[in-house]
Amino acid sequence: MKPLATFHGGIHPPENKAQSTVLPIAGASLPDELVLPLSQHIGAPARPCVEPGQQVLKGECIATAATAISAPLHAPTSGTISAIEERPVPHPSGGTGLCIVIRPDGEQRWAPRHACAAWQDLPRDQLLAQIRAAGIVGLGGAGFPTAVKAGTRPDRIIDTLIINAAECEPYITADDMLMRERAAAVVSGIEILRHLVQPATILIGIEDNKPEAIAALQAATGNSGIQVVTIPTLYPSGGEKQLIKILTAREVPSGGLPADIGVLCQNVGTAVAIHDAVVEGRPLISRITTVTGASCQQPRNYEVLIGTPVSHLLALAGWDAKRCDRLIIGGPMMGFSVPDAAVPVVKTTNCILAPTREELPPPPPAQACIRCGLCAEACPASLLPQQLYWFARSGEHDKLEAHHLFDCIECGACSYVCPSSIPLVQYYRASKAEIRHKQREREQAERARQRFEARQERMAREAAEREARRQARAAAAAAAQAAKARADAEARPEAPIQPAADPVQAAIERARALRAGQTGDSSAASSTAPSPRQQAEQKVSTLEARLTKARKRHEEAVAGGEKTAAALASVVEKLEQQLAAARAELETTEEQT
């Protein structure tokens, strides 16, 4: 099949691929320690499930996927967890990250492996789970968890599976060598993807500067229906969007995913990793990495355990640190330079480039933009880089977005062709970061405003509710009072119905006795408080009355043989005691007065 379309622009930088394809892939030796960053992929960092000091076997899971978009980590060899700590990581920021450090024991003892040769019989979910458990992420550079990408929603029909074997970046030959040497595994991995995704068409896009790999793939694909499409060498044809355009003439909508237009794109190395994981039960613990650049005596590709320090790999390739100008992880167009050779190889490290100063000279000072338009001719997204540059310099974020800054894939073609050596991509990265930052700030401010308003509303609501409750209580109390008053009024005539007349009678007696006690000096009592003596006299007379009454009832009860006789006896006894006490009190008050 022939490519269906071309993308706009593109450049032809010197390829520099020959020097690292002279020798076959070599196995890198075991380093003194392996450093595995918890974040080697897009998504949440993995969560360690081992402790320092713990023994681990080769292929044993040492960190689990933290969320749905995450990937687990496996011990690349058997050994001891020596630490879980911050170490320098290969990241454009040049910073550190939490890493699991393993001291290999050199025995390479494998943990039990779950190979499944009959993967065709596995249900889709189980196959995806196996890929997920193997920690496979996109090996082309982005590192997006493969199981998430391959497990698209059932309502999304993927009609075309594209295997990205373009490898358009200069210097990098990892995929090239992998295809030359393991074409059968590539096809096996593609078959597994075919089983998962059920596409109508499978296309392998490969640049025409890799004739050996093309021949190997054509031999391996045979009549499997997988088409090897040779595309013209043009940077950045390996960009996902560009490759999709070349092979299908479709464009991924801005801000969308290839799945939106029925395409799934996977890197050729990822296909091999899927084969290894499913057919051989081997999780992603190693990858092919190109070690190249003029400061390396023998540039070549290595199969290297994830976590191997870059310095170890460079030493294998005969690196001369004195001649090396900088260390680049990735290719010369999109790779980033790291300050420290101690950083480890991670799942997405496809190339370590150690150029001399003559090879990749530092950029000369930028001159004024003369709007020559070479950048616009080179831009694979059809942007106007020179306009974006003006807007970026003047901080016009609205205009940057109107000119589609976020469709920039940062391929570096514009900076490459710029005769004034303006670091255009750097301006775009900075502007994107600024806009994202502003966006986040706006969102935060919006959330804060919503929270504040919600709080105000809640407080107002609560105050209103409190007030309503208070009023309801007051109304209820008023109603209850009214009801009680009504009930009292109605209840009074009915009171004599009560079965035991005695308490009422007693109450009447008490009231009478009270009145009798008060009659003596009712005038004084009405105007002034009763004196202690009066109180004492009153008490005594009341008690005498109650005692008389109680004695009488006791006698009646005894005579009638009633059960209450004993109780009444104790009542009489109590009243006699109280009367005695009251009399004594009366005597003391008489003495005092």
Binding site: I11, I328, A368, I370, R371, S382, Q387, D407, C418, V425
Partner: protein
């Protein structure tokens, strides 16, 4: 061990701005040779004056603006402006005329607008128009070509250049250009006009046709080196040719002359390949360049035929310099992954 860190891309193409300017200078050489052959050494004197003034003024402005003088001078942009203005002026123009022109070009049109890359108007054309409006006599004193048999001698040229020649002598050895002749005569057959005046050559003006062909050769060289794209010059020449064809009546001097005459007269090729292609002041997108070039072509014909000036390229270019940002706004290319939307709709969304 600390390595230096730099932002990607780490690889750069070989082309530099200074190299672009040097190639443009190189491409003017055939035109300069043709001018010198046909009109005498006056062109070389113009060049010497213009380049000296340009470098001096550029250095002075950089110093005033506190910019590194060596770094900015090395981009050769001032020399390009100087050369383009010098070849557009009448050969052996007085030194003060060139000085005023360079002052307008380098100081006003370039540095007062912010220097290299920030100028909305082509500096050489600003210089030319300032001179044309301010000093019409000197600007129309074009020397006769070799073919007329009255080629200006070296000594006279130097006298003129030093502003020492008396006006009578200047008038005596000045001839109207073919474009002037065609405009001034409206009651002759072009064939007769051709025969009566030694200024006409085989296809266009005598000498002029070779000068234009030489600038065309230089322009094709730049095109081959991919310094600019074909769109703007081809659009300009096509529009000019189309206008000439539309208004050509086949032979009387009342019409504007054949397309070939217009292509090979005046500053057509210099304008098409060295002025219209000036990246700083022109439209940027492919469609924009086509519109920009075509509009200049139309304007050149309109001003040549109905205007009052000896040539029209400078005015046409300056008018379209004004319009370039407007053209850019409406001719943004469709970005990958976006449907065809007009800018106004984009901004609304």
């Amino acid at each position: 061990m600390a390595q230096q860190t730099l932002s990607s891309p780490h690889l750069r193409g070989a082309l530099t701005t200074a190299r672009v300017m040097q190639l443009v200078l190189l491409a003017t050489v055939p035109g300069i040779i043709a001018l010198t052959w046909h009109f005498g050494i006056g062109t070389l004197l113009n060049l010497a004056w213009a380049c000296s003034f340009a470098v001096a003024l550029e250095a002075a402005m950089l110093r005033l603006r506190k910019r590194p003088i060596g770094f900015y001078l090395s981009d050769c942009s001032a020399l390009v402006t100087a050369v383009l203005l010098a070849v557009a002026l009448p050969p052996a123009a007085p030194w003060w005329l060139i000085a005023v022109g360079m002052l307008a070009a380098i100081v006003f049109a370039k540095h007062l607008y912010g220097g290299m890359g920030y100028n909305p108007f082509n500096p050489a054309m600003v210089g030319y128009v300032v001179l044309l409006i301010s000093f019409p006599v000197q600007m129309t004193a074009w020397v006769p070509p070799r073919e007329s048999g009255a080629l200006l001698g070296a000594m006279e040229a130097i006298q003129r250049s030093l502003a020492l020649a008396p006006q009578a002598q200047i008038d005596a050895v000045t001839m109207a250009t073919p474009l002037d002749l065609l405009r001034q005569n409206s009651a002759l057959l072009i064939e007769d006009l051709w025969q009566q005046n030694p200024q006409f050559g085989q296809w266009g003006g005598a000498g002029w046709e070779w000068v234009n062909l030489a600038f065309l050769a230089g322009g094709l060289f730049l095109l081959q080196r991919r310094i600019f794209t074909w769109h703007a010059p081809v659009a300009m020449l096509a529009a000019l040719g189309l206008m000439a064809a539309l208004f050509y009546d086949g032979g009387s001097s009342a019409s504007g002359g054949s397309p070939l005459f217009h292509w090979l007269s005046g500053a057509t090729m210099l304008g098409a390949f060295f002025i219209v292609t000036d990246p700083v002041t022109s439209a940027v997108s492919t469609r924009g360049k086509l519109i920009y070039g075509a509009a200049i072509g139309v304007l050149v014909y309109l001003i040549r035929h109905w205007g009052n000036y000896p040539d029209a390229v400078a005015f046409a270019v300056l008018l379209l310099n004004f319009a370039a940002p407007f053209i850019d706004y409406y001719t943004q290319p469709r970005v990958y992954g976006h449907g065809a939307t007009r800018p106004a709709e984009r901004e609304k969304s």
